[in-house]
């Protein structure tokens, strides 16, 4: 009886973070829903108990249904039939189980049929689902798109679509086109307004995850003659209206159960979502931030799976008369995998908490004006979420790739064979550092927060939390001291690079600066975790060993780098 929630006590540690008290009170509006809905919590403990119980369902479903289906889904994959997608048998069963378990629309308000869960437990469910079947996490996680309709759609659209998502209809976000990938300003799909106020969409979209979904969010050019992002608007296409066909699905390296579609729009009827011209610059940016957090969760799930597979094999496999985990070369790999996993998971939930806080305030602002204090907090948390999201996605996805690589390495020759899960993990991991913005684009999104002080705000708050918590053990005290020194070192380089105001040079160094900042943030988070829960002590130390070395390496590179030599790197 595998349960992917209860078998992993780290999850409960993150779910019980002290900030949850505030998050839940805001999300539940001081528990006023309890009078209106018989499944709403009465108070904080009651709400936490609900999250715990529902995550236990998620863990059970993932351990008993989704994970056992994963291999068959990987082999069978989806197919195109009559312009639509037929999922692999296992995928259909997984979706059916999710619907029956009521795990769609988890974060939507109760009045629209949702569970009104904060983002944090929802993201935890994504973490768990991804460990069970990384590709399935995409289909399930696209319920996130409902968030965009909820934030920006009209009341009528919310009433029309969100209950359907909560009842189990799937979603997709149709952004990418053959000539508009990372550069979404070039989107060409044409939207034409009809006299009755509805719109018609014409054109082609490519690489659309779950492109045959029930409800699509579509980025299209509504302003004829424009060429940039300001001519793009967001539309809702309802599959019930017809007009979109799946021309083909891609034959991919990994996440094979998740259909990646090329879509043809022929006079497809659609509704405008929100205001014209804000499609890319406002709504897609919001959508992408949500999606990036989702990929960060997906990455952590992969890291977890890779770590577990490697650990189990290393304990069981015997060579030279003993289990291979007895050898330093192997046990180091395993310890480092766990440290990467723990670091990226800590950052994931740190991010989700900030997202929860600012989104709750934004939602409350729809009901009543926020106080000055609340406005200030909302702005702060929004900024912290903006800073943490690309770090969590960028570094978390790189870590899960490294864990997947090491997982195979621990398996040796067996890892190269199809018989072991690790080769699927390796293929599934690869996309996480590419889609929803490559790691390189996460660096672009994160760098301004690194160079303009948001990171300092975070570090200061971590120092304060550390000083307010219980006294650190001697070994953690050492970590703390070293962390101070390496932070100082890194911050000096970050300030120096930024001070040059030489954009090409800053761009060239950006990845190093972001990596240093990310490593420092995760090191602090693990230290805080270890302060609250001694089981994180090993990871806090192992991770800090790595982070310290990486910061030194990057500092050395920056110090000894001659700006002129950037030319040498140009092909």
């Amino acid at each position: 009886m595998a349960n992917f929630y209860t078998d992993n006590p780290d999850l409960k540690h993150h779910l019980s973070h002290p900030l949850m008290q505030k998050i839940v009170a805001l999300k539940e509006r001081d528990y006023t829903d309890a009078e209106k809905f018989d499944y709403a919590p009465y108070n904080f403990d009651d709400a936490m108990d609900n999250y715990d119980r529902v995550l236990e369902i998620v863990g059970d479903m993932c351990g008993e249904i989704v994970a056992p289906n994963a291999e068959d889904v990987d082999h069978q994959g989806p197919r195109v039939e009559n312009g639509g997608v037929v999922y692999a048998d296992g995928t259909q069963k997984n979706l059916e189980a999710c619907r029956k378990a009521g795990l769609m629309g988890m974060s939507m308000p109760r009045r629209l049929g949702g569970l009104n869960f904060p983002i944090t437990p929802y993201i935890m469910a994504a973490d768990i689902v991804s460990r069970a079947d990384t590709g399935f996490e995409n289909l399930w996680g696209l319920q996130d798109c409902a968030e965009t309709i909820y934030e920006f759609g009209s009341e009528e659209q919310k009433q029309k679509y969100i209950p359907r998502v909560c009842a189990g209809e799937t979603m997709s976000m149709d952004l990418t086109e053959p000539d508009a990938g990372s550069d979404l300003q070039s989107v060409m799909l044409k939207a034409t307004e009809m006299p009755d106020g509805t719109w018609r969409l014409n054109g082609v979209k490519r690489f659309i995850t779950n492109g045959d979904s029930d409800i699509h969010l579509v980025l299209a050019r509504s302003e004829e003659g424009t060429r940039d992002g300001r001519g793009l608007s967001m539309f809702i296409y309802d599959k019930r209206d017809g007009g979109v066909t799946v021309r083909r699905i891609e034959n991919k390296m990994g996440i094979k159960g998740s259909p990646t579609c090329e879509l043809v729009y022929k006079n497809a009827k659609a509704e405008l979502c929100g205001s014209r011209r804000l499609g890319l610059i406002k709504y897609v940016m919001a959508l992408m931030n949500g999606a990036r957090l989702g990929i960060a969760a997906q990455s952590v799930g992969v890291s977890e799976l890779a770590y577990r597979e490697a650990l189990a094999y290393a304990r069981e496999r015997k060579q030279f008369g003993k289990a291979i985990i007895e050898f330093p070369a192997v046990f180091e790999m395993i310890a480092v995998m766990k440290a990467r996993l723990d670091a990226s998971r800590s950052l994931l939930y740190e991010t989700s908490r900030y997202v929860d806080l600012y989104k709750a305030y934004e939602d409350i602002a729809k009901e009543r004006p926020l106080t000055l204090e609340e406005k200030k907090e909302c702005k702060l948390y929004s900024k912290l979420a903006d800073a943490c999201t690309p770090l969590a996605k960028g570094l978390g996805s790189e870590y899960c790739n490294q864990n997947a690589y090491d997982c195979i390495q621990v398996h040796g020759g067996s890892g190269f064979m199809k018989e072991y899960a690790c080769e699927r993990i390796y293929r599934d991991a690869r996309i996480t550092s590419i889609y929803e913005g490559t790691t390189q684009l996460q660096v672009v999104a994160a760098i301004r927060h690194v160079t303009t002080g948001t990171i300092n705000t975070l570090i200061e708050s971590y120092r304060e939390q550390l000083s307010q918590g219980p006294a650190l053990s001697a070994e953690l005290e050492n970590v703390s001291k070293r962390l101070e020194t390496m932070t100082e070192k890194a911050m000096a380089r970050i300030a120096a690079v930024a001070a040059t105001k030489d954009q090409p040079y800053i761009d060239f160094m950006a990845r190093r600066l972001v990596e240093m900042a990310g490593n420092i943030v995760m090191s602090y988070l693990l230290l805080l975790d270890a302060q609250r829960n001694a089981s994180f002590t090993n990871s806090a130390i192992v991770y800090n060993n790595m982070a310290n070395a990486l910061v030194s390496q990057h500092c050395e590179f920056i110090d000894s780098f001659d700006k002129e030599s950037i030319e040498l790197y140009k092909a």
Partner: protein, 290 residues
């Protein structure tokens, strides 16, 4: 047409993954190491009931179990998955019942209910493996029975159509309602617990459980799901004391033997024809193959 559906369920020790400490020295089950679970085939039956409810809006699914007061745990489990309510038939006088006394007691409880269209239950419980209780209840109530069901294909015009899984194939039969159907393990697995239902019905408590709750929790149970789990006694279902529990059970356990397998689980053969032929002959002789 909405249906009144009764699902029979039993809380059983989990005998599926027994270790060597599963039996005590005296040959009785060591319940301390075996968790109490929802009898697996009763979950298959519950899924069939819930599908009938999906197909016939307005239907109700009522669980019925006989056992210790803690059997309310499986009632709550069933409610999380979609059942509406449940009855725990619990009474010291019911203890020690064999299948005859059990089926009598349960049939008395069913008579106490407000009518029914169909009764579903698992084929058998994993602690006794008799498969007798379902059929005996049907006999006592005087309704038709369909055993070994794999899928209920539908209900229309007062008849239920059932696919039965038999040893050498499948058989599709029709029976007039009301009737009793026992469902085997080849039927589809039960759906997972539902998130919304768990948030609401986690407060559901039987009268026995309720007394152990603090006043706040009692208030919530009363507000949200007051009648979800009820307890009935032998007297309440008007059971004849002579026909229940030990007195009503002609089956007496004379002796329990703890069987310990002495043969090793694996044997190593060399790669030569003679040894392989020897093994094949042995497997044919003991009916493992052929």
């Amino acid at each position: 047409m909405s249906l009144n559906i009764i699902v029979l369920a039993k809380q059983v020790p989990d005998t599926r993954n027994v270790g060597k400490d599963a039996m005590k020295e005296d040959g009785t089950i060591n319940r301390a190491v075996l968790p109490a679970i929802f009898n697996p085939e009763d979950l298959n039956a519950l899924e069939q009931a819930l599908r009938l409810k999906d197909a016939h809006p307005g239907s109700t699914v009522t669980m019925l179990t006989m056992g210790l007061p803690r059997a309310s745990e499986i009632i709550r489990e069933a409610i999380y998955r979609g059942a509406d309510r449940g009855v725990v038939l619990t009474d010291r006088a019911l203890g020690g019942a064999d299948t005859l006394a059990t089926s009598y007691s349960l049939s008395q409880a069913i008579r106490k209910m407000e009518g029914y269209d169909i009764i579903l239950g698992g084929r058998q419980a994993i602690d006794g493996d008799t498969a007798q209780v379902g059929p005996q209840i049907a006999e006592k109530l005087g309704v038709p029975q369909v055993t070994y069901a794999e899928e209920i294909l539908g209900i229309a015009d007062g008849y239920v159509t059932v696919k039965r899984r038999l040893e050498n194939g499948v058989e599709t039969v029709k029976a007039p309602l009301p009737c009793l159907v026992t469902v085997g393990g080849s039927a589809d697995e039960c759906r997972p617990r539902n998130a919304q239902r768990i948030c609401k019905f986690k407060y559901a408590a039987s009268p026995t459980e309720r007394t152990a709750l603090d006043p706040e929790a009692q208030k919530r149970a009363d507000e949200r799901c007051p009648e979800a789990i009820v307890e009935w006694s032998a007297a309440f279902v008007e059971a004849d004391p002579e026909q229940i529990g030990f007195p009503g059970s002609p089956t007496k356990v004379k002796n329990v033997e703890n069987v310990v397998f002495t043969a090793k689980e694996s044997r190593r053969l060399d790669n030569d024809d003679a040894q392989i032929e020897e093994l094949v002959k042995e497997l044919i002789a003991n009916h493992t193959i052929g």
